[in-house]
Each structure stands twice: as C-alpha cells, then as structure tokens.
C-alpha cells in the first residue's frame, strides 16, 4: 500500500494551489459579497484545464481520473468553496454524458464541457423535495415526427447550480417518462419553454449561481435524450456517487483552509501574555481536527481510487462524504471561534466557511441520506419506509 502521489499528481496539486492562491484568493471576496458569478476566475480555470480533469482525452479531458480531480477540488476549496462548487456542479452533467452519452452527444456537449467553454448544470431537485430522487414530478412526453421527433418537458426544478450564469450553458434535466421511469435530457440555454428564474440567495456557496428553472412545454429534439428512456434514475445516481467523492474533496479543502487560518491566527493572537494556541483547550482541538481532516482525505482518495479502477465505490463515497463534511462544519466552527470577533467579521475568510460547510452536508444526499444508504449497503437495515 502506497499513499504517495505520483509526480504528476504532485505537480497538479502545486499548480492548482498556486492558481488558487494567486488568482482566486485576492479576487473572490467581491463576488461573494454581491452573490455574483466569478466569470473571470471560471474562465481562468477553464484555461488551466480543471473542468476536463476527470474525463477521457478523447472527450476533451485529460485522463486524470477522480483522484486527480479530488486533488484539484481540495486545493480550490481550501481557498474558496463557491469556486470549487462551480467546478463540481459542472462535473455532474459531464459525468452523465461521459458514462451514458452517445458519440454524437459527447462530441457536441461533453467536449466543450471538458474544455470549459460550456457550463453544465444538473437538474434533479424539485420544489417538492430533493432527498427522494425517484419522486421527480417533471414530465417528458415523446412527440414522434419524421425528423426523429422531439421530447416535451413540463415541470420545474429548484436549487440548480450553474444555471443563470453569464456563460453559455446546458442543463441535464431529469424527468418522468410515460413508462413511469425517469430519463435525462440535455436542455441548452435558449431552448424554447426553458426559463431560468432569479438566483437564490444563500448563506453558503454565495458566488455559485443557484436558480430555479421552469419547463413549460420545453421542446428538445429526440437526440437530446441521454441513453435510454427509464435509465434516468440510474444515470443521476451515477453522477451523485461520483459527486459524493467530489464533495468529500471539497469538504477536506474547506476544513484544511479553516484549520490553516485558525493555526496562523491563533499563533499570532496573544491573550494573557501567550498565544491562544498555547492553551491546551485550543491546541488539542486543532490537533484533533488535523487528524480528522487527514482521515477525511484518505476516505475521499480511497473512494476516488476505487472509482478510477472501475471497482464499486458507493459505500466508500458515502462514508467519505459523510465524514469529511462533518469535519468541514466542525473545522469552520472552530476556526471562527479561534478568531473571536474577527471570525464573524466578513473581512476574514473564515467567516464565510460555516455557510459553505453547511451546504456540503445537504447537497449530493444529506448526511441523513448517507447514513440511510450506508445502513442498507452495509446490511444493517432495509430502511424504515
């Protein structure tokens, strides 16, 4: 067993870290304060090649796999979680296309997604609820015609990240088909009947744009159905499972960032004549956190490495997500506490972290849903419903 990164992964990490420190850290504050999409940063990330990292070279990616993607997301999130969230949300529709898209669909949408010239969103959650992914109410009906026909979508989605940005985008929308199952459709910006509502104002992920979307007789050509009718739930769950590894990495990055800020501030801040980090109550807490951050990273990398090998990784992804996001919330809370009043001052980067961390416990399956899933996957229970 070897926990060392390859020299490529080391170089990847130092490159993304340098980019995050030089290009993201000094600029992101203004976007967060105004809940605005950080377009120049996102374009910079596209040039750097972050969006294509996990995908195949043939699909416009760089064959980095999930371990490389996890490394990059951690480095970005260590500086800012909104930006990492944009990259992660973008990867969900791309993962669906990579796994289930036809050659034509991958060429048309996955390649520009991997290159970052197109921004991607996944539309699963509806106003009536997100945890029960199978309970989708948005409908799609086929309208056959000589030219191959089309699908007509009706319904609405909410909390859809990466819609309503200034960049050209697509959303992969999950809808119920007449057979009763689900199906995923590519809905590009500008499709008739597809409307993006106003951005939602959140306490975390503030620079990531999250909107409601409305589908009123939204018509897409038959070629926009990804894979087969009825496969939508499986496709969404694939993206979500990969997404849990991403969230594990983002949570680890957030926690590390919070921890580093807490240590740096705490060593410099003196009370009663000594640095506050000389107090055992604070030092032990930070030592404990460092241990949990490492553990979360190892869980995340294990899940990523399994995914890269093509091995099952559902339980491992849930464990990584559950553990790392809890660590992130605790790290954010601790960092704020160590900062005292400055910790709740919006001028300090730790102030934003608690909101950012809480989002991580909700998306991609809440913590409760991870436990529910683990209880089933580990053979503990069959569920309580």
């Amino acid at each position: 067993m070897d926990f060392a990164l390859t020299s490529e992964q080391e170089l990847l990490r130092s490159t993304v870290r340098t980019f995050a420190e030089r290009e993201i850290a000094p600029r992101i504050g203004a976007y967060i304060e105004t809940d605005a999409f950080p377009e120049p940063i996102v374009r910079g990330l596209a040039d750097l090649g972050v969006f294509g990292l996990p995908f195949r070279a043939a699909d416009g990616g760089s064959d980095g796999g999930m371990v490389a993607f996890a490394i990059a997301l951690e480095e970005i999130a260590c500086v800012d979680v909104s930006v990492a969230a944009i990259v992660f949300a973008h990867s969900s529709p791309a993962t669906i296309l990579a796994a289930y898209g036809s050659d034509e669909q991958r060429r048309r949408w996955l390649v520009p997604l991997a290159e970052g010239s197109l921004i991607g969103a996944i539309g699963l959650t509806e106003p009536s609820g997100g945890s029960d992914a199978a309970a989708v109410r948005t409908t799609a009906r086929a309208e056959p015609a000589d030219d191959g026909g089309s699908w007509v979508l009706n319904g609405g989605k909410t909390f859809i990240t990466n819609t309503g940005t200034p960049l050209p985008g697509i959303a992969v929308i999950v809808a119920r088909v007449p057979s009763g199952g689900l199906a995923a459709f590519v809905v590009p910006d500008g499709t008739p009947g597809y409307r993006v509502g106003r951005p939602l104002h959140k306490i975390g992920w503030r620079a990531a744009t999250t909107c409601e979307v409305f589908l009123d007789d939204c018509r897409v050509p038959a070629g926009h159905l990804v894979g087969r009718e009825g496969d939508g739930l499986r496709q969404a769950l694939t993206a979500i499972t990969f997404g849990r590894v991403c969230v594990g990495a983002i949570a680890t990055g957030l926690a590390r960032g919070a921890w580093e800020q807490a240590v740096a501030y705490g060593r410099a801040r003196r009370t009663f004549g000594r640095p506050v980090t000389d107090r055992q109550s604070i030092a032990f807490g930070l030592a404990e956190l460092a241990t949990r951050i490492d553990a979360g990273r190892l869980l995340t990398w294990r899940a990523a490495a399994l995914a890269d090998r093509g091995a099952p990784f559902r339980a491992e992804a849930s464990m990584a997500k559950l553990f790392a996001t809890r660590t992130a919330v605790d790290a954010a809370e601790t960092a704020i506490q160590v900062h005292g009043a400055y910790g709740v001052s919006r001028e300090y980067p730790v102030a934003k972290m608690l909101g950012d961390a809480k989002v991580l416990q909700i998306i991609e399956g809440t913590s409760e849903i991870q436990l529910l899933l683990l209880a089933r996957l580990l053979g503990i229970s069959d569920g309580d419903e």
């Binding site: 020299s7 490529e8 170089l11 990847l12 490159t15 993304v16 340098t18 980019f19 040039d47 750097l48 090649g49 972050v50 294509g52 990292l53 070279a57 990616g61 760089s62 064959d63 980095g64 490389a68 990059a72």
Partner: protein, 259 residues
Amino acid sequence: MRIVVLMKPVPDTTGQERLLPDGRVDRAASAAVVNANDEYAIEAALKLTEAAGGEVTLLAMAPANAPETMRKALAMGATRGVLVTDPALEGSCTLSTTRVLAAALRGLEYDLILAGADTSDGGGGIVAAGIATLLGLPYLSYAAKVEPADGRVRVHRISPTGYDILDAPLPALVVATQALGEPRYPSLKGIMAARSREIATRSLSDLGLDGSQVGGAVATTRLTGSRAPAAREATVVVREAPAEAARWVVDFLAARRII
C-alpha cells in the same frame, strides 16, 4: 523556429534551504523547482513558437532526478527535454557547466537559444555568456522584447536609461527577463500528458567529454565559506489612513536620508 531553452532545477526557495558541510546547497533536502528566471525564457519561447510555429527543447544539466522538474516546463507546452546528467558532474564549477552545456548544444539543432538571467541558487549569471562565447554565437542580454524575423533577431536590451536595440543574425543566444511576460501556468492536460513527452538523457561520454575535462574534479573555483544572511530587522507596518501613512513613510525615509 527551433528554440532551445536552458533551464535549471533549483531548490524551492519557499522551503528550507540546507547547506552541506562543505557549504554547497543540499539538493536532496528540498524539493526542486524550475529556476524562476528560466520560466520567463520558457514563456518567451512558447510565445514565439505559438506565433511562428516551431518547437521548444529544454536543456538542463542536473542530477538524475531532474525529469520531475522538467515535466513542469514540458506541461507548460515545451516539446521535449534533454538532460545532461553524470555522477562526475557533481561539484561542477561555472566553467564546467558552460563547457558541458555548449557540448550538448553542439548536438542539437536550433535557431535561437534562450536563457534566464541567473539562477536562484548559484547566482553567477555568466553561464549563458560563456556558452555564446564557446559556440561563437551573438549574445543579446537582458531582453525585454525578442523579435526574430528573416534569419535575424532584434532584441530590446534593458539599459540603465531605457532600451538598447540590438540586432544579430540567427542562431543567437538571448537572455530573457521578467519584462517578456509572466510565465503561464502549466496546463493540467499538459501535466497529465507530460510523461508521454520525451526527455532524452545524455552522459558525459555521450557528449564526447570525460571527467578530466569537466566536473568537480577540475573545478576552477572553490567554495571557501557560506553563511546565512543576517536576520532582517523588525518590519514596520503603517496602518494609518492613506494620506497619513504616506506622510509617515516620507518622514521615515527622510529621517534616514534615503529621500
């Protein structure tokens, strides 16, 4: 346009530099990075070949683990690397380095050689000039602008008062500066693909040299001592409003007769 860029792996200055008992830098103690001034040369070479076509070859004389560092420059977009490495090169003086790199360049095809102004470890700043002398090439230093055209190269050389405009036939050796532009980030795609780029290794005998001509055994300079720089005095941070802060700084400098 075929460009060779001289690049040196140097100890990462953000880490802790350690000295060996004989005073030389302990290269095993800290991670190696591309010498920062060489990155400007690499960036300039990439811009020139992007505009006019061609390829960029990196040339380094370094320990055998240098490919790890060269890959970063390959990921920026360089075509290939050539590494001269040989146990006999340990402890080489500037003159040896110059001879070895010149010998390696004799085996490469190029129109232009680009080098950084100096290295952050040795800091001699004379290897490039020495190579140009040994190879009989025009030497154009401190370039703020490099414009090759029609078999010639025109360089804006930074001078104490502005620029000197130099013009020379190719092939030529140009020393790059920061004024040529910030180095790009290596692309992540480039990083993942860098292993597939060729790094050719040359030993002294490949270059027709042996340890009696170059290397530590025949070093013409000797390190007589080294010491850490004196600790910097306490930093003063002025936190007043801009107008007041400016007045404070002016008073401070005036009191020390700096202005």
